[in-house]
Symmetry: C2
Subunit: 296 residues, 2 copies
């Protein structure tokens, strides 16, 4: 089976559909498969999700950044979402037959090309970050396009990893990085009491001392009237769906309610599901190489 | 992702390695991937496991049967395993993006070609069978090559589905069919008492009134000293690994022992593992189309 990398670039244009059409075309022309493309007018921002082989994804990401630098003028951009450039952020995500290190290398190569060939300063972030204060995107975006104009010239902490120490006159700067896939995972409870879901969410999420790399909230779903623990798993290799689900099972039992079912929103990496099966069966000595479907 | 079919033809030659080399070459030349090829001298029989797209697998199966009919003379064949021809049996197994009906159609097309182009009588079996007394291979093989010589000419029940009503002078006859993938699944117990594994096997297996499409035995593994329930799941869509494992969990608990771990032998279809994950998470509304790895 082919190697697969996912890429989810964000662009600072969310009102002109012809812009998104152009970007999607550039990505498809590079041989990648576009899984989703959406615009948000109030954020004035587009997000494209695509997959392909590492070489194709690299080319598509660079070509899309180039096209966006021709189409967007950051001097005129306004929107609610923080941003530093026309192509605001490019994350590479290892999916199949590719390691995180491979994606860090992709971020470096694409970042270098964007810096040198397009003259756009690039900050490496997340797993590709070269400094601790560039791991988190909000830190990289601090001051945004407007604030970065001066700071990039004067503040040594704002010196980019690639490209010139001044913003591109129209395209600003770009954050390029590598990160694990995000899994949007919801668990529905057989109660309408949102307080129970909130209490469980507090036990689960990292920010209140729960499981690493887990974001969680308790909400109530109007359609069903049921309480739900809604989660983002930011690194399923550190905290698996099995670990999260087991923890919720415990919390649910101690509160006298039950899990009705669970849902996955959007796209999911295969390993995240296989890990659940392997744990359930206490399976040992098995590897993905023995799955028939993946052999052709 | 590509469509994938598995094929596991059995040939009546298990002593001459050059025969197997020839057959493997023919299959690879047709664009398929050979996963395993083995000979058994006392059975005087070879088994090749290969995968590929439906069109490639069809061509490979026909070409292999043709080559075997040139290389093997059934008049001289002796071996312990029952058989009716040079290419004794050809099963097609749906793996990815292919239905059982698709594989039944493949069996019909390949059977027709073997019958008409090679002059070898073909019996359709398993899911491709045209009569109830041809579903099981032992029924199709009754009398074997030697007995079939006369019976095929005189017994209306032995009239083949394709090809002439007389055996090919060297290659005999061939059974061609479609069946689900077989899963070899073992569960190890934290006891050396083989009687417990045997008792659980009796509860599990179809032949003693247990779960449909499950074969099971209780054995003791020399290396570990542990008792094991060793199983073949003949149709995981009817009786899933989750159902089998849950049943063993119940049986184990009522006998005061525990499951140590489990193992899968050989190759496994992806769906069989995904079913386990979906059941474990009580996952609803999800489909394989949302697995990132499978999108390229």
């Amino acid at each position: 089976m082919k190697q697969v990398v996912e890429c989810i670039p964000n662009f600072s244009e969310g009102r002109d559909p012809s812009f998104l059409d152009e970007i999607v075309k550039v990505i498809k022309d590079a041989g990648c498969k576009v899984l989703d493309a959406s615009m948000d007018a109030s954020h004035n921002r587009s997000v494209v999700t695509f997959v392909g082989t590492p070489a194709d994804v690299e080319q598509a990401a660079f070509s899309a950044a180039k096209r966006a630098s021709e189409l967007i003028d950051m001097e005129k951009h306004q929107g609610e979402h923080p941003r530093i450039g026309a192509t605001d952020v490019i994350p590479f995500v290892p999916i199949h037959g590719v390691t995180m290190d491979d994606c860090v290398e992709m971020a470096n190569r694409v970042g270098k090309r964007i810096g040198e060939e397009l003259g756009i300063p690039v900050y490496l972030y997340a797993k590709a970050a070269t400094r601790p204060d560039r791991v988190r995107l909000p830190d990289v975006r601090r001051g945004e396009y407007e604030g970065l104009k001066e700071a990039i010239k004067t503040d040594p902490d704002k010196k980019p990893d690639f490209g010139p120490s001044q913003l591109h006159p129209r395209a600003g700067a770009t954050a390029v990085g590598a990160r694990p896939p995000l899994i949007a995972f919801n668990v529905n409870l057989n109660t309408g009491d949102v307080k129970i879901a909130r209490a469980i969410a507090r036990k689960i999420r990292e920010s209140s001392g729960g499981l690493p790399h887990v974001q969680a909230m308790g909400i109530r779903i109007e359609e069903t009237g049921l309480a739900q623990v809604t989660m983002n798993l930011l690194d399923y290799r550190s905290t698996s769906m099995e670990v999260v689900f087991s923890k919720i099972e415990e919390e649910v039992a101690s509160r006298g309610v039950e899990i009705v079912n669970s849902e996955l929103i959007g796209l999911v990496p295969l390993d995240a599901l296989l890990d659940v099966a392997f744990a359930r069966l206490k399976l040992e000595g098995f590897s993905k190489e023995r799955i028939l479907d993946l052999m052709v």
